[in-house]
C-alpha cells in the first residue's frame, strides 16, 4: 500500500506536468486525489499498534536503504499532511481566479511537495528521511517562487532555499555522525547514545531542524515565504513543511536525550523563537505576516517542549502539533479569503468584516480561539497539557522555561485577539458591496477545519486514542497521559484562565493602538545582502580569472605543469636513460625539432598550420619506430583532420600573423622552453621508476578469452576498461555540445542586438545565470 500510494503521487505529478496546462484549475482536483487517498488510508491506521513497512536496499555496500515504516506516529502525521493537503487543493480552486495561469504547474508542484512530505513522515532509514527532507526544500522553493515574475517572490524563495538547504547539509553531516555513533540507520532502532560524536551529531541535527522549522535566528525565511500564494502558506508554512524540523526532533530525541548539549541548545532555540515570534506577530499589520510570525512562535513552543524531553512535554508537543495544523491552516485560509474578497490584508484598512463575511468570521473566531487555547476547542486541552508540563518542572527550569512558556502563551492570546479585532471588529464595517461575493470552494475547507477544531474537543477521547500511541513510539512513558476536556480547578487550569485574561487585555489594548506599518525585515535583508555579496564576489573573481586572453590561459596551464613536474626532478635515474633504440628515431627527432622551431618562425598562418602538421606526422613516425600501429593510425588520422580543419578555420583570419613585440617574443620563448623542459623532466622521471611487472602478459591472455579479440589495445578500450572509454566518449560529447552552444549563441544573439529593436525581456527565472554565460561566451 505504501508503494501504491507513493507511486500514485508520482504518476499524478508527472501527468499534471504534461497535461496540467490544458486543465487549468481542474488540475487541482486531480492533485487532490492522491492526497485524499493517502489521508484515507492513513486514517484507517490511526492509533493502530500494527506497523506497516516497505523498503529496499538502494546502495548495498554503503548500507543506504530506502525504508518506510508507518506506525501510529507516521499514520497520524500523514493523515494531517495529506488531509490538509487535499483541503488546500479544494481551497486553491476558489482562491485562484478562473483564468489564472500555470495552474498545472502549481498543482504538480504542490502534489510533489506533498509526496516529499509523506515520504518524510514515513521514513525509517535516516537516508530516506534525508532525501525527502531535501525534496521538501526544493519543492517549497518552487512553490514560494511560484509568481516568478515578481522579484520579491524570487528573493524570498532564494532566501528560503539557501537557509533550508544549508540546514540540509548540516543534517547530512549530522546523520553521518549519528550513524557512526549509533551503529544503525533505522529510526526505529534508536538507542540513547553519548560521547563526542553523538554531541556533534546532536548539534548538527538540531541546527538542521532549526533551519527547517524557522527557529531563531534562522526564522527569517518564513515571513518572506509569505510571498507565496496563500494556499501554499496554509499548507507549507503552517501544517507541514515547517513541522518537518519538529518531527525530526521528536523522532530522534530518544537518541540524544543523554547528550549534554541537546536540551540546552534545543531550549535556547525554542524559547528565543517563541518569544521573538510572538513579539513579531504583535508588531505587524499584514494579517498574513501576523500569522507567519505566530507560526514561528508556535514552532518555538513545540521545540521547547520536545527539548524538555519529559514524556509529559513530548505528549503535549505532539498534541499541539495536531491542533496547530488544524487551526493554523484554517486561519491562513481565512486571511487568503479576506485578501481575495476585500482586496487587502492590512488590518489597518480592514474593518468590521463580520457583517460582510459571516462564515469566514465564524471560522476565524473558532480557529483563533483554538489557537488561544479557549474551550470548548481542540486548542484548549492541548495547551493545558503544555502548561501542565511546564508547571511540572522544578528548580531553575520551572522559573525560566515554565515562566517563558506562560509568557509566550499570553502573547499568543494577545496577537490572536489583535488579529481578529483588526480584521472583523474594529472601526466602521466595510460596506458589503466593496466585498466580493463568497466562493464556496474557499468556504468549504475552512468550515471543515473549523469543525475539526470543535469536534476534536467533543471527541477528545478519540483524539487521545490517536495521539497517545503516536507519542508512545518516541516516549514510551507517555502512556499514562490523556487530553482532558474538563481538568477541574487544577493549577494548570487557573494558570490558563489568567493567561487568557491577560492576553485578551493586552490584545484589545494593542488593537486600539494604530501602527502605521510593520517593522522592516532587517534579518532577511542581511541574509539577502550576504547571498548577493557572495554572487558579487564570485563575479569579481571570475572576471579576474576568466580574463579571456588565450595567451594568458596557456601561460597559466604551462605554469601549473612546470610546478607539477618539479617533484619528478629527484626521480630521474640517469642510468636508465639512453639515446635511442634505433637510428630512425634520431632522424625523426631532428625532423620534429626542426618543424617545431620553424613553426615559431613562419609568418604565414597557413604555413604554421602545415608545419605543425609536420610535427604530428613525424610523431606518428616515432610510433612506427616503436611498433605501435594503433597509435600510428590514430595519430595520422587526427593530424589529417586537424590540418584540414585549420584550413577551414584560417579562411576567417588574416593570412599573416601580426608582428609580435620583442618582449612578447621573449616571453613566448620562455613559456615554450619551460613547457618542453617540464614534460621532458616528468617523462624521464617516470621512465626510471617502473613498479612491478608490466601487465601486458595478463592483458594479452585475457584479451582473447574475455574480450574475444586479438587486438589487445582495442580489447582494453572496448572491454577491459570500457567504462573509461565510455567516460571519454561522454567528454567528447560534452565538448561538442559546448562548441555547438557557443557557436549558435554567437550567431543568434548578435544580429538581433544590431538590427532589431530590443524586444521586451521575457520573465527570466535566472537572469544572473544568463549573464554569466554571456560573459563566458564573449
Amino acid at each position: 500500500m505504501i508503494w501504491f500510494l507513493l507511486a500514485l503521487h508520482v504518476v499524478v505529478v508527472v501527468a499534471l506536468s504534461f497535461v496540467g496546462r490544458h486543465l487549468g484549475r481542474r488540475s487541482l482536483w486531480l492533485a487532490a486525489v492522491p492526497m485524499a487517498a493517502t489521508a484515507a488510508w492513513s486514517a484507517t491506521r490511526l492509533g493502530s499498534a500494527e506497523v506497516v513497512t516497505a523498503g529496499f536496499e538502494w546502495v548495498p555496500g554503503l548500507d543506504v536503504t530506502i525504508e518506510f515504516r508507518v506506525n501510529a506516529m507516521g499514520a497520524l502525521l500523514s493523515t494531517l499532511v495529506s488531509g490538509i493537503g487535499a483541503l488546500v487543493c479544494v481551497y486553491a480552486v476558489g482562491y485562484f481566479s478562473a483564468g489564472a495561469a500555470s495552474m498545472g504547474r502549481f498543482a504538480a508542484t504542490l502534489l510533489a511537495f506533498s509526496t516529499a512530505m509523506v515520504g518524510l513522515v514515513w521514513a525509517d532509514s535516516v537516508w530516506t528521511l534525508f532525501i525527502f527532507w531535501e525534496l521538501t526544500s526544493i519543492t517549497s522553493f518552487l512553490l514560494v517562487g511560484f509568481k516568478h515574475a515578481d522579484p520579491v517572490a524570487r528573493t524570498a524563495a532564494r532566501r528560503a532555499l539557501v537557509i533550508t538547504a544549508a540546514g540540509g547539509l548540516s543534517l547530512l553531516a549530522g546523520f553521518v555522525l549519528f550513524v557512526d555513533a549509533a551503529g544503525t540507520t533505522r529510526l526505529s532502532e534508536i538507542t540513547p547514545i553519548t560521547g563526542s560524536t553523538a554531541t556533534a551529531a546532536a548539534i548538527l541535527i538540531l541546527v538542521a531542524a532549526a533551519t527547517k522549522s524557522a527557529q531563531f535566528p534562522f526564522h527569517v525565511w518564513l515571513p518572506g515565504a509569505m510571498a507565496a500564494p496563500t494556499p501554499v502558506s496554509a499548507y507549507l508554512h503552517s501544517a507541514t513543511m515547517v513541522k518537518a524540523g519538529v518531527i525530526l526532533v521528536a523522532v530522534i530525541a530518544p537518541a540524544f536525550q543523554d547528550t549534554e548539549v541537546w536540551k540546552p541548545l534545543g531550549l535556547s532555540f525554542g524559547l528565543a523563537t517563541m518569544l521573538w515570534g510572538a513579539i513579531g506577530a504583535l508588531r505587524h499589520v499584514d494579517a498574513k505576516l501576523i500569522l507567519a510570525w505566530g507560526t514561528v512562535s508556535q514552532l518555538g513552543l513545540l521545540i521547547t517542549l520536545l527539548a524538555l524531553g519529559t514524556p509529559k512535554a513530548t505528549f503535549a508537543a505532539i498534541s499541539i502539533l495536531v491542533a496547530h495544523a488544524v487551526f493554523k491552516a484554517a486561519l491562513f485560509m481565512v486571511v487568503g479569503e479576506v485578501d481575495v474578497r476585500a482586496g487587502t490584508r492590512n488590518i489597518n484598512e480592514l474593518s468590521g468584516l463580520r457583517r460582510a463575511m459571516p462564515i469566514t468570521f465564524v471560522v476565524a473566531v473558532i480557529s483563533g480561539a483554538s489557537m488561544a487555547g479557549i474551550p470548548p476547542l481542540l486548542g484548549f486541552p492541548t495547551k493545558e497539557a503544555a502548561i501542565e508540563a511546564a508547571l511540572g518542572l522544578s528548580g531553575a527550569e520551572f522559573w525560566i522555561v515554565g515562566g517563558l512558556i506562560i509568557g509566550g502563551s499570553v502573547l499568543t492570546v494577545a496577537y490572536t485577539t489583535r488579529l481578529l479585532i483588526g480584521m472583523f471588529a474594529s472601526g466602521e464595517p466595510m460596506p458589503e458591496r466593496e466585498v466580493a461575493p463568497r466562493r464556496p470552494a474557499m468556504s468549504a475547507p475552512e468550515a471543515v477545519l473549523a469543525a475539526a477544531s470543535v469536534l476534536g474537543f467533543v471527541a477528545l477521547g478519540w483524539v487521545t486514542g490517536v495521539v497517545r500511541p503516536a507519542v508512545v513510539t518516541v516516549a514510551p512513558k507517555a502512556e499514562v497521559y490523556s487530553l482532558l476536556r474538563w481538568p477541574g480547578l487544577t493549577d494548570a487550569f487557573i494558570t490558563s484562565l489568567v493567561i487568557v485574561a491577560f492576553g485578551l487585555l493586552i490584545g484589545a489594548l494593542l488593537a486600539r493602538r494604530h501602527v502605521v506599518s510593520g517593522p522592516t525585515a532587517r534579518g532577511a535583508a542581511n541574509v539577502d545582502w550576504t547571498i548577493d555579496g557572495v554572487g558579487r564576489l564570485a563575479r569579481q573573481v571570475a572576471a579576474r580569472v576568466q580574463h579571456g586572453s588565450l595567451p594568458l590561459y596557456l601561460a597559466t596551464t604551462v605554469l601549473v605543469v612546470c610546478v607539477a613536474s618539479v617533484p619528478f626532478v629527484g626521480e630521474i635515474d640517469t642510468d636508465t636513460l639512453y639515446w635511442w633504440d634505433n637510428w630512425a628515431e634520431a632522424v625523426l627527432v631532428v625532423m620534429i625539432v626542426t618543424a617545431a622551431i620553424s613553426a615559431t618562425k613562419v609568418s604565414s598562418r597557413l604555413g604554421a598550420a602545415l608545419v605543425l602538421g609536420a610535427v604530428g606526422f613525424s610523431v606518428a613516425g616515432l610510433f612506427v619506430a616503436y611498433g605501435a600501429p594503433d597509435l600510428v593510425l590514430t595519430q595520422l588520422l587526427v593530424e589529417t583532420v586537424i590540418v584540414v580543419g585549420f584550413v577551414v578555420g584560417l579562411g576567417r583570419l588574416a593570412t599573416k600573423f601580426p608582428t609580435p613585440t620583442r618582449l612578447w617574443l621573449a616571453g613566448r620563448l620562455v613559456i615554450a622552453g619551460a613547457m618542453g623542459t617540464a614534460v621532458a623532466v616528468a617523462l624521464a622521471g617516470s621512465a626510471g621508476n617502473t613498479v612491478g611487472d608490466a601487465p601486458i602478459r595478463e592483458l594479452a591472455e585475457t584479451a582473447q578469452t574475455d574480450g574475444g579479440g586479438k587486438n589487445v589495445v582495442n580489447v582494453i578500450l572496448t572491454d577491459t576498461r570500457a567504462l573509461d572509454t565510455f567516460g571519454e566518449v561522454i567528454v567528447l560529447m560534452v565538448v561538442a555540445v559546448g562548441i555547438l552552444n557557443l557557436s549558435t549563441r554567437r550567431g543568434r544573439t548578435r544580429p538581433t542586438a544590431v538590427a532589431a529593436p530590443p524586444a521586451p525581456a521575457p520573465p527570466d527565472p535566472a537572469p544572473a545565470l544568463v549573464e554569466a554565460v554571456d560573459e563566458v561566451a564573449r
Binding site: 588520422l637 593570412t655 587486438n711 578500450l717 572491454d719 570500457a722 565510455f726 561538442a736
Partner: protein, 163 residues
C-alpha cells in the same frame, strides 16, 4: 574557396569519398583483431567531411543528430548488460557463418564502437560548425560583399549580421 579555384581538388575529393567510406568501415570491423576501431573509423569519416567541406561539396550539418545517436547507442550498449544481471558494459561475443566472408566473430563491442564513430563524427561536425564552415561555403557560392576582406579572429561577428 579551394573548390572555386581548383576543380582538381573538388574532383579528387569526390573520387576519394567512397573509397574512404569503405576503408572506414573496414577499419571499424578490423579493430577487433588488427589496428583500427571506432575512434579511427570516426576520424576517417571526419576527415572526409572536413575535406568535402573545404572543397565546398557539402556543408557540415546535423552535428546534434550524430551526437545524440552516438550517445544513445553507446549508452544503451553500456546499460543493456544490467538487464541480464551482468556488470555495466559487459560484452557479448557472437560468432556466425556468413556466405562470402566465412566465419565472422563479432560482439556488442562493435555496437559500442558504432556509437563512438557517430560521436566522433558529431564532434568534427560541431567543430566545423563552430568555425562557421557553413557560411564559408555559402559565401563562395553567392557574391559576398565581404569577400577578400582580411579580418581578424577578434572580429568574426559582422558575418553574422550580413548573413
Amino acid at each position: 574557396m579551394i573548390a572555386r579555384t581548383s576543380p582538381i581538388v573538388s574532383l579528387a575529393v569526390r573520387a576519394v569519398t567512397p573509397i574512404a567510406l569503405v576503408v572506414a568501415a573496414y577499419v571499424l570491423f578490423a579493430g577487433h583483431n588488427q589496428p583500427g576501431g571506432g575512434f579511427a573509423a570516426g576520424l576517417m569519416l571526419g576527415a572526409v567531411i572536413v575535406l568535402r567541406t573545404v572543397a565546398g561539396i557539402q556543408q557540415p550539418r546535423s552535428a546534434t543528430v550524430w551526437l545524440s545517436v552516438g550517445g544513445v547507442i553507446a549508452g544503451l550498449v553500456a546499460i543493456a548488460p544490467l538487464l541480464w544481471g551482468e556488470p555495466l558494459l559487459d560484452q557479448v561475443v557472437v560468432t556466425w557463418d556468413v556466405p562470402v566472408l566465412g566465419t565472422v566473430k563479432t560482439g556488442s563491442a562493435l555496437l559500442f564502437d558504432l556509437g563512438v564513430v557517430a560521436i566522433v563524427v558529431g564532434l568534427v561536425l560541431a567543430v566545423l560548425d563552430g568555425l562557421d564552415a557553413t557560411s564559408l561555403v555559402d559565401r563562395d557560392r553567392t557574391p559576398a560583399p565581404a569577400s577578400g576582406r582580411s579580418g581578424d579572429a577578434a572580429t568574426p561577428d559582422d558575418r553574422g549580421a550580413s548573413a
